[in-house]
C-alpha cells in the first residue's frame, strides 16, 4: 500500500485547495438552504395564517356559508401535509430543486388563478388544491435539503428556518393594508408575485454532488484521512477502515448513541466502515465544513468495491409504514400537532369570553409568537450541543407543554393568561424545533423523504380533524376550557411512544441480523 499512499500524497496538494474551496462553498450553500427554508416558512405560514382575513372578503363577495368558505382554508392547510407522500416520490425522482421550483410555480399560479374566482368550489381548487400541493412541495424539498446539508447543526438550522414563522405576525397587518387598497383580488395578485420569489430562492437548493467515480474515490478517501491528520481518532478510523467484514451490527449498536445519520449504512450491504471513528468526527462541535468532509469521506466509502448495491428503492416506498420507529414518531407527531393547533385557535376566543379586549388579546398572540421563535432558537442550539439524545428534550417539552395546557383553565385574568401564553409558547417552540432533527436521528437522511412524507400525511389527518374537533368540543361544552384540557391531554399522550424507542431499535437490529 505504500506506493499507493505516496501517489495519494502527491495528489494532495491540488486536491487540498479544491476541497477547501468546496468546503467553503458547501458551507455557503448550507446557509443558502437555511435561508430558503426560512423564506418558505415565512411565506407559507404567513399565507395560511392570513387566510382568515381573506375569509371575510370571500364570504361577502363570492357568497357561500361560512362553513363552505372555511373548507378552502382547511383544504389548503391539510393538503400541505396530506400531499407529502406524493411530493416525496416526486422529490426522489426529480430532486429537491426542481420540486421546489414546481411548488413555487403552483403557489404563484394558484394565487393568480384565484383572482378570477367567482364561486366557492373554484376557490377550493385554485386556492385550496394548488396552494396546498405547492406548499407541500416547497416544504418537503426544503426540509429534506436542510437535513442533507446541515448535518451537525441540524437542530439549530431548523430552528432558524422555523423562526420565519415568527415573522408571520407582520404579514397580517400587511395583508389587511393591501386588501383596503386593492381589494382581495388585487391582494391575491400581489401575493402571487411575492410567492414567485420562491423560485430564485429554490434555486439555492443545489443538489449535493453526485457520487464520485471509482478512481477518485480513493483520492477522496485519502483526502478525508489526510485532512483529519490533526485528529488522532479519525486517523485511526481511516487506517482501520479496510475490512469488509466490519460488521453492520457494530454500527447498528452504535445507533442509540449516535446521530441517526449513521443508520444510512444500515441499508447498504457494503459496510467497510468504522462507524465509531466517523462518530467521533461528528460529535465535535464543528461547523458545516467538517460535516462536509465527513460526508465526502462517507460517500467515498460507500462507493468502494465489495458488494455495492445501488439504491433500488421502489418509487412509492411503503417501507416506513412497516417500521416501528416510524410508528413511534408518527404517534408523537400526530398528537403533538393536535396539541399545538387547538390552543392557538381558541386562545383569543377564550380571552374574549373572559372579558379581555381584543387589543389585549392580540398582544397575547404577539407575545406568544415572539416567545415561541426565541424558544425555538434556544432549543435548537441546546439540542445541537448533544448533551443528551435529542428526543429526550422533545419528550420533556411535550410533557411540560401538556401540563401547562392542563393548568390553563386556572388562568382567568389577563396576567395569568399571559403567563400561560408565554409558557405554552416556550414549550411549543422547544418541541417544534426538534421535530425534524428527531426524525433524522431516528431514521437517517437517505430515507428521510419517504418517512417525512408519510409522517406529514398522518399529521395532516390530525390537522384536518383538529379544528373541527375543537369547535365541536366548544359547541358541546359551551366553554373553551375543554379545548385546552384536550390539548393538554394530547400533549401528554404524545411522548409516550418515545418510551418504546430503545426496544424498537433492538427489534430492528434483530430483524436486520436475521
Amino acid at each position: 500500500s505504500f506506493p499507493g499512499e505516496r501517489k495519494e500524497e502527491e495528489l494532495e496538494a491540488p486536491a487540498g485547495e479544491k476541497s477547501s474551496g468546496m468546503e467553503a462553498a458547501a458551507g455557503g450553500w448550507a446557509w443558502g438552504v437555511v435561508f430558503h427554508f426560512f423564506l418558505v416558512n415565512v411565506l407559507v405560514m404567513g399565507m395560511l395564517k392570513t387566510f382568515g382575513i381573506f375569509f371575510v372578503a370571500f364570504q361577502e363577495e363570492v357568497g357561500g356559508s361560512s362553513e363552505q368558505v372555511s373548507w378552502i382554508g382547511s383544504i389548503m392547510s391539510s393538503l400541505r401535509f396530506l400531499g407529502a407522500p406524493l411530493v416525496a416520490v416526486v422529490c426522489r425522482r426529480l430532486g429537491e430543486r426542481p420540486t421546489s421550483i414546481i411548488g413555487a410555480g403552483l403557489v404563484g399560479g394558484g394565487c393568480l388563478l384565484s383572482t378570477q374566482a367567482t364561486s366557492v368550489p373554484f376557490l377550493c381548487v385554485s386556492m385550496g388544491l394548488l396552494l396546498g400541493m405547492g406548499f407541500a412541495c416547497l416544504y418537503q424539498a426544503a426540509a429534506v435539503m436542510t437535513a442533507k446539508r446541515c448535518r451537525t447543526r441540524l437542530a439549530f438550522s431548523n430552528a432558524i428556518a422555523r423562526s420565519g414563522m415568527g415573522l408571520t405576525f407582520l404579514i397580517a397587518p400587511f395583508t389587511q393594508l393591501l386588501i383596503d387598497f386593492y381589494g382581495w383580488q388585487g391582494t391575491l395578485l400581489i401575493f402571487g408575485g411575492i410567492m414567485l420569489n420562491l423560485v430564485p430562492s429554490s434555486m439555492l437548493l443545489r443538489p449535493l454532488r453526485a457520487r464520485p467515480p471509482q478512481r477518485s474515490s480513493a483520492k477522496n478517501r485519502a483526502r478525508g484521512c489526510l485532512m483529519a491528520k490533526e485528529d488522532p481518532e479519525t486517523l485511526d478510523g481511516c487506517l482501520d477502515e479496510t475490512s469488509p467484514g466490519e460488521t453492520q451490527l457494530r454500527s447498528a449498536q452504535d445507533l442509540p448513541t449516535t446521530e441517526g445519520v449513521m443508520t444510512v449504512h444500515g441499508r447498504d450491504v457494503s459496510g467497510p466502515v468504522n462507524m465509531s471513528a466517523l462518530e467521533g468526527f461528528e460529535k465535535r462541535p464543528m461547523d458545516n465544513r467538517s460535516s462536509e468532509i465527513a460526508t465526502e469521506a462517507k460517500r467515498s466509502y460507500k462507493s468502494l468495491p465489495a458488494t455495492e448495491k445501488e439504491n433500488s428503492q421502489p418509487l412509492l416506498d411503503f417501507s416506513p409504514l412497516k417500521d416501528p420507529v416510524f410508528g413511534i414518531f408518527t404517534w408523537s407527531f400526530l398528537f403533538s400537532h393536535l396539541a399545538y393547533f387547538v390552543p392557538i385557535f381558541h386562545l383569543v376566543a377564550r380571552a374574549r369570553t373572559l372579558g379581555i379586549s381584543s387589543m389585549d388579546a392580540s398582544y397575547l398572540i404577539s407575545v406568544a409568537g415572539i416567545t415561541e421563535t426565541l424558544s425555538q432558537l434556544l432549543s435548537g442550539w441546546v439540542a445541537d450541543q448533544n448533551w443528551t439524545k435529542k428526543y429526550h428534550y422533545h419528550v420533556a417539552y411535550l410533557v411540560l407543554g401538556g401540563v401547562t395546557n392542563l393548568l390553563c383553565p386556572l388562568a382567568t385574568t389577563f396576567p395569568l393568561l399571559m403567563t400561560y401564553a408565554v409558557a405554552f409558547a416556550v414549550f411549543c417552540g422547544g418541541f417544534m424545533a426538534l421535530v425534524l432533527p428527531v426524525l433524522v436521528d431516528l431514521v437517517g437522511v437517505q430515507k428521510l423523504h419517504s418517512y417525512l412524507g408519510f409522517a406529514a400525511f398522518f399529521a395532516g389527518i390530525a390537522a384536518i380533524g383538529g379544528p373541527p374537533l375543537a369547535g365541536w368540543l366548544y359547541d358541546y361544552t359551551q366553554t373553551y376550557v375543554c379545548s385546552f384540557l384536550f390539548a393538554g391531554a394530547c400533549a401528554l399522550i404524545s411522548p409516550i411512544s418515545f418510551f418504546f424507542e430503545p426496544s424498537a431499535q433492538k427489534w430492528k437490529l434483530k430483524k436486520a441480523n436475521l
Binding site: 462553498a25 386593492y182 383580488q185 402571487g192 414567485l196 420569489n197 430564485p200 434555486m203
Partner: protein, 237 residues
C-alpha cells in the same frame, strides 16, 4: 295592541349640570321617564321641576317623594325627540332623554372592487328589525333611490333576512364609484347608513405585481449566472 311599559330614570344633580340618556326605540312603545333629585337637594323645601320637550312644557307630571315622571305614548315620528326635566333654582340643573330611532352603521372603510366585476354592499340592523329597506346612490349632492326592477341587469337588491339587506351592483364602471346609502324604515321613522364604493381598474394592482415579478426574474438570472460561473471555475480548477 298592548305595549309593555319601559321605565327610564336619571338622577338630577349628580355629575355636572346636565345629564343625558339616549333611548333607542325600534317600534311604538309606552315610556315612563322620571327624574329623581339627588340627596344633596333634600334640603330644598319646595323644589320646582319642569318637564319640557323642546320649548313646550309638559303638564301631567306625576310626582312622588323625590321624583318627577311623565308618561308618554310613542306612536310615530312626531313623538320622538328630546325630553328634559329641569330643576329651577340658583343654577338650572337638567337631565335630557333623547328618544330616537335605531341607527344603522355603515362601513367606514370603502369597499374596493374592479371594473367589470360585481360588488356587494351589505347593511344590517341586528337589534331592531326594520319594516323596509331602501338603497340610495349619490349623484352630485342628490340622493337617488335605486330601483332594481327598472335596472335589473345592473342592480339587484336582496333582503337576505329581516335584518340584513344586500345591494349587488353588476358590471361595475368608474361611474359607480361613490357614496351609497341604505335606509331602514322603522315604525317610528327612518334611519340611514353610509357606504363607500371604490372602483379600480386592473392596472392599479398590476403595476406592483409586475414589479415584483421583474425582481424575481432578475434574482433567478443572478443565481443562474452564478451557478454557471462557479461550475466553470470548478472545471478549470
Amino acid at each position: 295592541k298592548k305595549f309593555h311599559k319601559q321605565f327610564y330614570k336619571l338622577l338630577l344633580g349628580v355629575s355636572g349640570t346636565s345629564m343625558e340618556k339616549n333611548i333607542t326605540l325600534g317600534s311604538a312603545a309606552r315610556i315612563e321617564l322620571s327624574c329623581k333629585l339627588d340627596n344633596k337637594y333634600s334640603h330644598l323645601k319646595s323644589p320646582q321641576v319642569t318637564w319640557k320637550r323642546g320649548n313646550e312644557t309638559i303638564g301631567h307630571i306625576s310626582k312622588t317623594k323625590n321624583s318627577w315622571s311623565i308618561q308618554l305614548k310613542i306612536l310615530d315620528n312626531s313623538n320622538l325627540g328630546s325630553y328634559s326635566c329641569t330643576l329651577k333654582g340658583e343654577e338650572e340643573i337638567s337631565a335630557v332623554f333623547n328618544l330616537q330611532v335605531p341607527k344603522i352603521g355603515g362601513k367606514e372603510k370603502p369597499i374596493v372592487s374592479y371594473e367589470g366585476d360585481t360588488a356587494v354592499m351589505i347593511c344590517e340592523s341586528l337589534d331592531y328589525t326594520p319594516i323596509a329597506w331602501t338603497w340610495y346612490m349619490t349623484n352630485g349632492s342628490e340622493q337617488i333611490a335605486i330601483n332594481d326592477s327598472l335596472l335589473a341587469d345592473k342592480y339587484a337588491i336582496n333582503r337576505i333576512s329581516a335584518n340584513v339587506t344586500h345591494l349587488k351592483i353588476l358590471k361595475l364602471t368608474k361611474e359607480d364609484d361613490g357614496v351609497y346609502w341604505c335606509e331602514a324604515a322603522f315604525e317610528l321613522g327612518k334611519s340611514k347608513g353610509k357606504l363607500k364604493l371604490k372602483v379600480l381598474s386592473f392596472m392599479v394592482p398590476l403595476k406592483p405585481f409586475l414589479a415584483i415579478v421583474a425582481e424575481a426574474v432578475i434574482l433567478v438570472t443572478i443565481v443562474f449566472l452564478y451557478e454557471i460561473y462557479s461550475k466553470k471555475k470548478e472545471k478549470h480548477a
